[in-house]
């Protein structure tokens, strides 16, 4: 609690106010507001179709909300409404200060480029032109995500699902972003690989002080990773609070259903 309290005294990193997005008559997400502080991990949970991914797309500037404001504390510029950024500025943000970990590593990796090239791409995109330095940094990051350095010149398609996911994380973190969006980072992985990946993620996030917005339907993921939790249903946030508080003492009937639906092994 004291850690959370000290966070409140810092300036927020991202603020969402009444973010609403609908697809014709169908609601994507409605009236979502929250504040994210530096180094904080927010989990967004809910069933399929509850608007988690729509919300994430709006927050990361890939989708324009119908109404509402999303502001982000840009380095050297202060709070900026991300909708007012030009496209090149948003793309620049996406490959420097932000990261995006997709559920399917194929969406986030270049499958025809070696692991080292995948990690080095962001560095080269921001102007690194020294091969030795780029390769050194790539090795450094592959070691951090526990990928054998002998695999540095192998294509990601020869990697297992868990390795691909770890490579995707390394590729995103190499420019030391302050905010990373994750969409079902452990989806499609078996439980032991999931556990290792979560352990790794938790370590990296704590070590580097990265803020994360993680979307998942897996309560175990948020239990391990998230400081705070938002529960979504039919596009709206029905409950939010500290993760342990929400999971151990759910108030909303839907959250109670969600928590009680998890099988205890």
């Amino acid at each position: 609690m004291s850690a959370a309290a000290s966070m409140r005294t810092r300036a927020p990193l991202m603020q969402a106010r009444s973010v609403t997005r609908s697809y014709g008559g169908n609601i994507g997400c409605r009236d979502v507001s929250f504040t994210l502080y530096p180094g904080e991990v927010i989990g967004i949970v809910g069933e399929s179709g509850s608007g988690k991914s729509t919300l994430l797309a709006c927050l990361s500037g890939r989708l324009e909300p119908d109404s509402g404001v999303i502001s982000y504390d840009m380095r050297g510029r202060g709070f900026v409404d991300i909708q007012t950024l030009s496209e090149p500025e948003r793309r620049m943000l996406m490959r420097t200060d932000w990261g995006m970990v997709h559920q399917n590593p194929r969406d986030g990796l270049r499958m025809a480029v070696s692991a080292g090239g995948n990690v080095g791409e962001r560095l080269m995109a921001v102007g690194a032109r020294h091969y030795g330095d780029i390769r050194g940094e790539a090795q450094n990051w592959l070691a951090k995500v526990e990928i054998d350095l002998e695999r540095i010149d192998d294509k990601p398609r020869t990697f297992s699902g868990g390795m691909q996911q770890r490579l995707q994380i390394a590729r995103n973190l190499v420019t030391t972003p302050r905010l990373v969006f994750m969409d079902e980072p452990t989806g499609g992985l078996d439980v032991s690989v999931q556990a290792r990946l979560l352990d790794l993620l938790r370590g990296l996030v704590r070590e580097l002080g990265i803020a994360v917005i993680v979307v998942t339907h897996d309560l175990a993921v948020v239990r391990l990773l998230a400081d705070r939790l938002m529960v979504m249903r039919r596009g709206e946030v029905v409950e939010h609070g500290l993760t342990d508080q929400v999971l151990d003492d759910p108030h909303h009937p839907y959250t109670q259903l969600l928590v009680s639906s998890v099988l205890q092994a």
Partner: protein, 304 residues
């Protein structure tokens, strides 16, 4: 112009409106060096991949007083070069030449002549794939954005991959360049040996891609920098042999197989340059007895 009139074609084959459209595109391309300007490519009496883009550009810039030179892989006497030269003799009735410095318009595939180009000359490149990022990013929408926002990190990734796999930058032709510090450009499949010739060249350099319907250009005296890494600088090819016919050590050499017992010789790919040197008395290891311009003698002589 009697030839053109007799052949029944408009001067230089294309109708005047089409030439106007292409010239407008050329001006746009020259105004933004390295930018791929789209144009309404026409069907030409030639298959795609044989220089339809180059022919359309040549047809739009050539005038009755121009002198045309056409080369293919540096040679004036290869099929593609002969066909295109004959085409313009027929439809434009222009004077043709094999001498680089006499030509005012040079259409080329795969080479830049060894003799330095001068002010007033135009060199037209035939381009199969104008998009340097194509093999890395298949989406056209995305590559256009990358050009618009000058996001060229991905091209560097390709060079990184080369070094990671081969220990050096193994790209030898169509080597990517930055034009005027702004646009990434595919120089067409010329060997990287020719890349430095594009830098600050006094001639106008025009690039036409017929299938892809794109034109781009480098105005005279423009900076053209080949991409590289600080610790793996750009390097051109070099040979430990000299030209077997003219003894040149500064030109791009082709390896020619001369028999089925492993015999081979290295000769200049630029036939005009080679013939000129031999006419000036330079003699290579196998060029002693040959009359100028008939290097086939050296080949057949060996077989006997």
């Amino acid at each position: 112009m009697s030839g053109a009139r007799e052949s029944g074609y408009n001067f230089a084959y294309l109708d005047e409106q089409t030439k106007r459209m292409i010239r407008r595109t050329l001006l746009k391309a020259l105004a933004a060096p390295g930018y791929q300007a789209p144009f309404g490519g026409r069907e030409m009496p030639l298959a795609y991949g044989w220089g339809t883009g180059g022919i359309q550009v040549t047809a739009s810039v050539i005038g009755p007083e121009d002198v045309l030179k056409v080369i293919d892989q540096g040679a004036d006497d290869t099929t593609n070069a002969v066909s295109i030269r004959r085409f313009f003799q027929l439809v434009a009735d222009v004077e043709t030449t094999e001498a680089t410095e006499k030509a005012t318009v040079i259409q080329t595939r795969h080479r830049i002549p060894e003799a330095p180009l001068e002010e007033g000359q135009i060199i037209v490149y035939q381009v199969p794939q104008p998009e340097p990022l194509r093999h890395l990013e298949p989406r056209e929408v995305e590559t256009r954005k990358m050009h618009a926002y000058a996001e060229y990190g991905l091209m560097q990734v390709r060079l990184y991959e080369d070094i990671a796999r081969y220990g050096h930058i193994a790209t030898t032709y169509d080597y990517p360049v930055m034009v005027n510090g702004r646009y990434l450009m595919a120089p067409s499949p010329i060997p990287k040996f020719d890349n430095p010739k594009m830098q600050d060249n006094p001639a106008i350099q025009l690039f036409g891609a017929g299938r892809e319907k794109r034109i781009y250009a480098i105005p005279p005296y423009t900076s053209v920098r080949s991409l590289d890494f600080e610790d793996h600088p750009f390097r051109t090819q070099s040979w430990d042999q000299r030209c077997a016919l003219c003894d040149a050590d500064d030109s791009y050499l082709d390896e020619v197989i001369t028999d089925d017992r492993g015999g081979r010789m290295f000769v200049c790919s630029d036939t005009d340059y080679c013939a000129r040197r031999r006419a000036n008395g330079h003699v290579g290891a196998q060029g002693a007895i040959d009359p100028v311009g008939e290097k086939t003698d050296a080949l057949s002589g060996d077989a006997q």
